[in-house]
Symmetry: C2
Subunit: 402 residues, 2 copies
Amino acid sequence: MKIIKGGITTPLEFRAAGLHCGIKSSKKDLALVFSDKPAVTAGLFTTNQVKSAHVLLDLKKLRRKESQAIIVNSGNANACNGATGRDNALEMSEYTAKCLDIDKQNVLVASTGIIGKPLPMNKIKKGIKEISGKLTIDGSIDAAEAILTTDTTIKEIAVDTGIKGRTKNNIKIGAIAKGSGMIAPNMATLLSFITTDACIEYEELFTALRECVNTTFNMLSIDGDMSPNDTVIIMANGASRNKRIKFKTPEYKKFVDGLNYVCTYLTKKIAADGEGATKLVEVQIKGARNMKDARRAAKSVANSNLVKTALNGCDPNWGRILSSLGAARIKIKPGKIDIAINSEPIVHNSISTNFSQEKLHKILKEKEITITINLNVGDYSSTAYTCDMSEEYVKINAHYHT
Amino acid sequence: MKIIKGGITTPLEFRAAGLHCGIKSSKKDLALVFSDKPAVTAGLFTTNQVKSAHVLLDLKKLRRKESQAIIVNSGNANACNGATGRDNALEMSEYTAKCLDIDKQNVLVASTGIIGKPLPMNKIKKGIKEISGKLTIDGSIDAAEAILTTDTTIKEIAVDTGIKGRTKNNIKIGAIAKGSGMIAPNMATLLSFITTDACIEYEELFTALRECVNTTFNMLSIDGDMSPNDTVIIMANGASRNKRIKFKTPEYKKFVDGLNYVCTYLTKKIAADGEGATKLVEVQIKGARNMKDARRAAKSVANSNLVKTALNGCDPNWGRILSSLGAARIKIKPGKIDIAINSEPIVHNSISTNFSQEKLHKILKEKEITITINLNVGDYSSTAYTCDMSEEYVKINAHYHT
C-alpha cells in the first residue's frame, strides 16, 4: 500500500464536483460524487434514534446494495423536519437522477448543517442542475470543500492498495470527509464518502467497511452518542477489472489495509480539526480485560471535558485521567494503572512517578499528544481519537445557530 | 416546613468553624463540623472506582453508623496518593479526635481540590489544633466558606421541619455544600454536610438520605461519572429529644420533605454556580416509559455540551435537544416529542411549532431556564439540574492545576 495524491476521483471512472448553490452565504455547499457505471455500495449510518431524512432514505435505497451518485448539501442537516424533510430528501435524489439521466434508485443523498430548518429546495434544485454538468475527474477537491461546515481544512486522501487490476493500474481507494464539532462528546456530523475501482461484492465490501469504521470513525464518538446525520458510504465500481476480491485472500487483506489507512487518516484529520482544537489527542488503552472495556476506557478519557481542557492549557493534571477511568464502568484495579504522555511515564501504580513537571509541560505543548494507559488487568487494546477543548469551542457553539 | 436563616449549626448542639491553614494561598481551607454528643450518621459516596483516601476511610468508619465530628480540607483532594494518602487521612482523623478529646473512631474526614498531590500535613495539623478551639454555634458560615474550591458563593441552608421535639423548638435540618466544576459532565467534587437535631435511627436516616440524594445531587451528575471525592454526610444528634422518627409516620414524611427541600436547594445553588455558569438549567422529562429512561433522558440533555453552549449563547438551537434525546439509548418515538422552554412550546411532534424566535431569544436570556420535554411514550418524570457552558468554563479548567 502506498499513499498517493488525490481523493475520491483518483480511482478509475469516478467524477465529482462542488459548488455554491446558496444554502450558505458564500461558501461551497453542494457536492456530487458520481461513478460512470453503477457501483456496489455499502453504508454505515448514525445509531441516533433521531435520524435525518437523508439517513432514512439511504438506508432504504441501500437495501439494493447499489448506487451511482451521491448528492450532498452542507449548511442544512434536513433533520427534524418531519414529512417535509423526507419529501425534500427524496426530491433531491430524484431530481439528481433526472439531471444525470440515471436510474433514480441509484442516487443517494447526504445533508449536514443546522437541524430543524426546511431545505431551500429552489436553490438546491438550481444547484443540482448546474452541478450535474460540472462533473470532472479533478472534482474531488471541490466536493471535499463543499461538504464542510465549521471544518477549517478539507480532508481528502487516496491510496494505492498494491492489488493488481486487469488495467495497467493497481486498485485504488479514495475518500473525502467532513467532521468538526467537538466530535468526541456528541452530535457533530461526520460524513465520509469513499470510492474504489475494486471489483468486490457487497458482503466483502460491507464487512471491510464495518471492520475499519469500528476502530476509526466510531472511536471519535462515545457509544450511541452520534449526530442524526452521521454517514459513511463506500462505492466500488469494479473499473479495475480485477479478479473479484474474496474473503480470506491476500487481496482482501490488502484491501482492508488500504481502507483502514484511509479511515485512520481521515479520523485523525477530523480530530485535529475539531472545533477550536489546538492539538490532536490519541488515547491508547492497553491491558484491558476485554475489548469492550478497552473501548469504553479509551472513550471515557477522550470524552472528559476536564481532561480536554487540561490538555488545552498544557496542564499536567493526570488525576483527571485516572478519575475518568474510575468512572468508566469497566473493570480496573484502582491502584494498578500506568500512564505515559508521549512516552514519558507520569503515573505508575496509580501514583505520580515524580516526573519532571517542566519536561511534561514542554511535551504538552506539542501538536500531537498520545496518552498511553496500561490498565494492567488483561491483554486488550484500543485507541480513541479526540482533540483538546478550548474557549474557541464554546464560542463557536454558543452562536452556531444565530 | 419552613425555611429559616442558618446552616449546619442551626440544629441544636452542633458547632462548627472554618479557617485558613495554608493549603491554599490565602482563602479558608479547613472546616470542622462538631456535634456535642455522638450522632447517628449516614453517608453516600462517589461510585467512581478511583476513590479518594477520605472516602475509603469514611466508608470503613461509617459501618459503626456513628460520628461526632467531620474535619474537611479544601485545596487538595488527597486522591491518587496511594498508601501515603491513606495514612494522611487517618492521621487527620486521629489528630482531630485528640485535639477534641473524643473517640478517634468518631471523626470523619473529607477533602476536595487537586488530585495526586500529597497533603501538607504539617500545615493541616497546625490548623486542626487551632480549629478545635474555635468551634461556635455561629460557625456554619465559616465552615461553608472553608470547603469551597472554585465555587463563587457559599451554599448553606436551614429548615424547620415542623416536627415537634421535647424542647420548645421544632426539629431542624441544616446543611452546607460545595460544588462547582461543571458538575454535570464529570468529576467535579460535590461535598455536602447535613446536620439535624432529630432523634432518628440509622435505617430511617439512611433511607431518607438515599431517597433525597437520588433525585437531587445524583441528578447533577451523569451515571457513574463522579469525582473520586463526592461525599454527602448527614449527622442526627437527637438533641430535640423528639419521639424517635419511624418509617410510615407523618413525622417521617415531614422529615423527608425537609431533607428533600435542603438537598434540592443546594443542588440548584450548585448548578447555578457551575464553573463559568451564567444560568441555572432544569431539564424536566415527562412521559417516559419508565423511571430509568426518564433519568437517562434528563441527564443526556443536561450533559450535552452542544445544548449547554447553545444556552450560553441564548441560541434557540432545539435540534440539539432532540438529537441528545435520540442518542440517549432510551425508548422514544422520534416523531412524537414535545419541547417547551420556560413554558413556551417550541417543538410539537418533533418539529418546530413556528414559535416566535424573538420571544424565545428573550426567554433564553433569563437566569433560570427550564426545558420541559414530553416523550409521550409513558407516565414517568424526572428532572436534571445543570448550567450553561461558557468560554469561562474552559478558561478555568485549562489552567486549574498550574
